[in-house]
Symmetry: C2
Subunit: 171 residues, 2 copies
DNA sequence: CGCTCATTTCACAAAGTTGTGAAGTTAAGG
DNA sequence: CCTTAACTTCACAACTTTGTGAAATGAGCG
């Protein structure tokens, strides 16, 4: 209600607003440990119609060199958050956000949890099961194992929840 | 089984092994975005009997200056992972790991999720509910809201699980 | 009370990271 | 094939971050 929030949104007037949003969200991601350029590219893609942009578009909107775009894209496709497409009949590439998959990417820090668990288990053996330190370390390993299992459940429940939401909103 | 794993462990011979474990785990934490010195101090505390060490001990084991210890300690106590104690009758401080609390610390990235959700909601309004970009952004916001709720459940289930495990292992 | 030792603060040097320009590579289109 | 446009790689310079030594602070103990 509060005014005509954004009924006519995304016409030309709010390019600047969108850019501010992109930068703000990217800054958050950067704060959480993501490389800055990758975060900015990711945020720009998220806020783009079609969830896809070309190198030139990214370069222009973010005011960065093609080289920087290239580096960010390499990273994002390595971690599976985007893929590259080629519009046939042109020599420009389109980078498109894996919209469905990036939640998984986000939670698929499984790999990390697995590694941590392993290291901690080895540590606990080294310290000895009879020592306080060994027991503490073992419990920490246990926590990460527990987290791994929970993550799977979360993603399942998210799929269900999203489904339900989607069905309801298309009313 | 596989040999006398570590029945006699933590005698003097494996100080080096413990140190390797500490460094390995710290390196993982660093990789995940934690400051290096804080990670090393944290790992050292985890692997110490009593979950506590003095500044001098940390300085010696990690081969870092007292200044570096001080910086790491400041960070760790800010985020609530350790607290400082003073053995009465001495002028040395002991830094002790919040063993029960640090799991919470780990999952209490709630704050982050809240901020992200807020920014994304604003973004989705800006882009407009009718646009594809707006819908996508709204869904992302929804995901983080969902995650927040899930985190609470996880911590509850961990408490229960740990309880059960503890009871059983004291058999 | 003042001395002494433990911890903290601060300025700086060293090391690391990051984005750029320019040269290099690949592929579409004439 | 040769030209040209798009993307990538590479070396480097600017900028950050990080840990140190030295000086300052503060807390026990005589």
């Amino acid at each position: 209600m509060t005014g005509m929030t954004t009924t006519e949104a995304n016409k030309d007037g709010n390019e600047e607003g969108v850019s501010r949003f992109v930068e703000r969200f990217a800054a958050e991601l950067t704060g959480a440990g993501m490389q800055r350029m990758a975060a900015r590219v990711f945020a720009a893609l998220l806020a783009s119609e079609g969830a896809s942009m070309t190198s030139a578009e990214l370069s222009e909107q973010l005011r960065i060199s093609p080289a920087a775009v290239s580096g960010a894209i390499r990273y994002l496709s390595q971690v599976g958050m985007i893929s590259r497409e080629r519009d046939p009949g042109t020599r420009r590439e389109r980078y498109v956000l894996h919209n469905e998959l990036w939640y998984e990417t986000f939670t698929r820090r499984d790999q990390i949890l697995v590694r941590w668990e392993k290291i901690l288990r080895e540590g606990s053996e080294l310290l000895g099961p009879k020592t306080e330190a060994g027991a503490r370390t073992a419990e920490t390993a246990e926590f990460f194992a527990f987290l791994q299992r929970e993550m799977l459940g979360i993603m399942d429940r998210w799929a269900v929840y999203k489904e339900a939401r989607g069905a309801e909103s298309s009313f």
